[in-house]
Structure formats: C-alpha cells, structure tokens
Symmetry: C2
Subunit: 224 residues, 2 copies
DNA sequence: CCGCGGACTATACATGCGAGTAGTCTGCTG
DNA sequence: CAGCAGACTACTCGCATGTATAGTCCGCGG
C-alpha cells in the first residue's frame, strides 16, 4: 500500500525516493542520484529538508513508523509463523533492507531499530516462556538481545555477500534468505547443536567461580 | 607477536598501518591518514602499491594469512573451549575486526573470509557429528553457512552498535562481546529455544509438500 | 669522488560531493 | 489583472579525496 502513486507532493516523493536509494545502495548515495530518482533537481533537497542529514533523519523516522505499522499488522492477521512475516511484501522488504543498512552503517538510527526489536523480542519471549512455548533462559534480556543481533546480523551478512541488490527485488532477496535460513534456524532452535551439556555446564561453573570466588584460590586478579 | 617493532621497511609499516586504520575506522579511511599513522607521506602509498585498491588487496591477503596462522595455533595449543580462541590477543582482535569490516563492506575479500570460515565450520561439525558431539542436521552445509553468518553477523551488529571503537582496545571489544554472548550462545546451542517440535515439524511438512506435491492439490503456483 | 637508483616528500591536478545563491515558473488571492 | 509566495532549477563554491608528477635525500658500488 502507501506509495504506489506518483502524484505525491515533492517533499514526499523525495523522501520515498531517498528511502529506496538508501536501501538499495547505502547511505553514501548522492543527493543528485536521489533527486534524479524522484524526478526533481538536487537543489530541491535543500529547499525542503535543509541538508542531507535532515533528509535522512526524516527517512529514519518514516521507516520506523512504517515498520511499526507492518509489525502490528502482521501480529494481528496471521499468527501462524513466528518469523518472516515482515519482509513478505515489497514494502516490507524495502523497510527491512533500510533497517539492515542503518545497522550496517552504525548510525544512531540503527541502534534505535535494534533496541526496538530487542524490546519486542524480550516481551515476546517472556510471554512465550510463561506459556511454556519457549525454554526459559538464565538471562532473558541477554538472550533476547543476542538473538536479535544474530537474526539481524545473519541477514546483514547474507545481504552483504550478494554482489548487488537489484533495486526492485527487495522482496525477492528476503525470500531467498528465508528459504535458506529457515531450516537451520528451526533445527537449531528446537534441537540445539551440542549433543550434551558439557560446554554449558563448564561455562556456568566458570561463571559461578568468577562471581563467587571460592576461598583458598588466588590468581584470578583480572581487575576491571 | 609479528609487528610490535617500529624498524620495519616502509612498505610493511604502511601495510600494517593500513590494516589497523581499516579495522579501526573502515575502508573509507584516507590514504593521508594511513600514511600519517605509518609516519610517512601519502605519496609513498603510490610508490609502493600503485593505488589504494592494491594496498587494500595486500592488506586482505596479509590478514587472511595471519588469520590462518592464528587459527591453527589456537587449534593446536588449547583444545579446551570451542569458540573465542581467536580474538584473545590484540593482534587477533585487529584481525577479527578487519574481517568484520570486510564483510560489512561487502567486498570480495569479505566473501573469501566467510567462505573460508564456512568450510572450516563444515569440516569441524561433520567431524563432531561423527563423534557424537554435535546433533546432526538435515543439511550440514546450510547449517554451517547459517551458523557462520549468525556468528559473524552478531559480532558485526554488536560492533556497529558501539559509538566508536577505540583504536587500541580491539581485544577489549572482542572480550566484551564474548562476555555477553557466551551464555546465550551456549544456552541456545545446548538447550534450544522452542519447547516443542511443532514449528520444525510443520516446516518440514511444508518442505515435503513443496518438493513432493501430493496429487490432487492445486494452487501452489509460486513460479521461480 | 662520482653518480646512480630507490625510498621518500611536496605539490599539483581532476573529480565528486554537500552546501549555498540567485533566479524562474506556477498557481492562488485580492 | 496584479503580485506575492512557494515549489523548483541552474549554477557556483569550498572541501576532501585518490591520482599523478617533479624533485630531494641517502646509501652503495665503481
């Protein structure tokens, strides 16, 4: 939905063109390229936004807003699958890639996106744990953050590996990713990877020894 | 080891300075900054390497070589822990961050690094599966690739989230990451996330239905 | 002592960028 | 019709970067 029309005001056209350019080619894309894509001149950016930075800020805000809308939509309509509802459509794909680029870029906006997702994931998992659907963790917040970092990160790496993301196939790219990531994800998440608990128990013992140093042992003097 | 000395030939000094600059600030770092860090002038880059591209190619090759050395070292000496041997030292940290930046950058070198790690991971896991240490997968290659993408990716996201990586604390950054990622990693890998097999079995059924279309069902016409 | 060659510097391009300025076109309002 | 305001364009400026050129310094073999 939203913006298939071409009869938008110049400001909105410029913003949407910038979102697609940023998603497709990264935030290094020049104002001239963005303006060309929007069918206007480069100087107009300044007229409407003042600077490239402000343009991007508006793009960030718009993407976050639309992401939230898509999120609640996908939460309401089909509660079938756990992941992958987001990038189903083309619009969702653009949003997802834009978010990935923000994270890749290391910008504050990227942090905002990630923090948002972590909060959502934490709420989701704590609820799912309470309902017995998900195994509890010794540190729910750390697990939620880690899993979000893994999810975003694996998509990011996958995206970065492709020689060039065609401007149009955002949805296609995400679909391909899902096709090759879904099976391993589900395997690891339901069956685990290690056949026994040795590594985990050893690490837990290590942690316990570090926080509760047993009397009679010296030498652990990593000051921090 | 390797390069704490300052009495290296100009070419090597320049290369090592470039590796550190690229790792610390990304590949956009200017030749002048690199030259300044190496204590020489910018024109010398051209004299020794011809272009920035060739400088970077040499950095890529050097990093890959040193990474392999560190890898086999850590494989031989302490077979205690499974992960995290790599970025123990400062040198390892620089290498790791350089590799992360290469992946982030989307360069062919990044692909090389990842493919390398995937091959290593695949060899490792198949062996571990044979020895009963790791749960088998329905597609070992896909799982290995996915797990590498997740590992690299989560580090990448974590790195990108930090406001600025100090030039010196490469090892510190990696240590911090390990401290916060180790517990969730081990939990997920040994205990899984989902409490039951529903999602996995549903997806497997979906896959089976897609590859072996049961007669008498139409409507699945997603051509690709 | 000569002088030759390579490491190295200083400086000058050429390019692409964001930012800034001035001016044109268009539509609405009185 | 007058004229004003805002959307929009064409052009210029300053800056940073990679690249290229000319020249300097120094050690080593004759």
């Amino acid at each position: 939905m939203s913006t298939t029309h071409e009869d938008l005001t110049g400001r909105a056209r410029l913003r949407d063109a910038a979102i697609e350019c940023f998603a497709a080619r990264g935030f290094g894309e020049s104002l001239r390229a963005i303006a060309t894509r929007a069918g206007v001149s480069a100087g107009l950016v300044r007229h409407h936004f003042g600077s490239k930075e402000e343009l991007r800020a508006e793009c960030d805000a718009t993407v976050l807003k639309r992401y939230r809308v898509l999120k609640v939509d996908s939460m309401n309509t089909p509660p079938t699958r756990l992941f992958a509802q987001l990038p189903a459509s083309r619009d969702g794909g653009v949003l997802m890639v834009y978010i990935l680029r923000s994270v890749q870029d290391g910008s504050p906006a990227g942090r905002t996106f990630v923090d948002n997702m972590v909060a959502e994931a934490l709420a989701f998992t704590t609820d799912a744990v309470a309902r017995g659907l998900v195994v509890p963790s010794r540190n729910e917040e750390a697990r939620a953050r880690f899993m979000v970092q893994q999810s975003i990160g694996s998509m990011l790496v996958n995206l970065a590996m492709r020689p060039e993301v065609r401007l149009d196939d955002f949805a296609n790219v995400m679909d391909q990713y899902m096709a090759q990531a879904m099976l391993p994800t589900l395997e690891v998440y339901t069956e685990g990877v290690f056949a026994d608990r040795t590594y985990l128990d050893e690490y837990l013992a290590y942690l316990a020894a570090k926080t509760n140093p047993p009397a009679g042992l010296a030498g652990e003097a990593a000051m921090s």
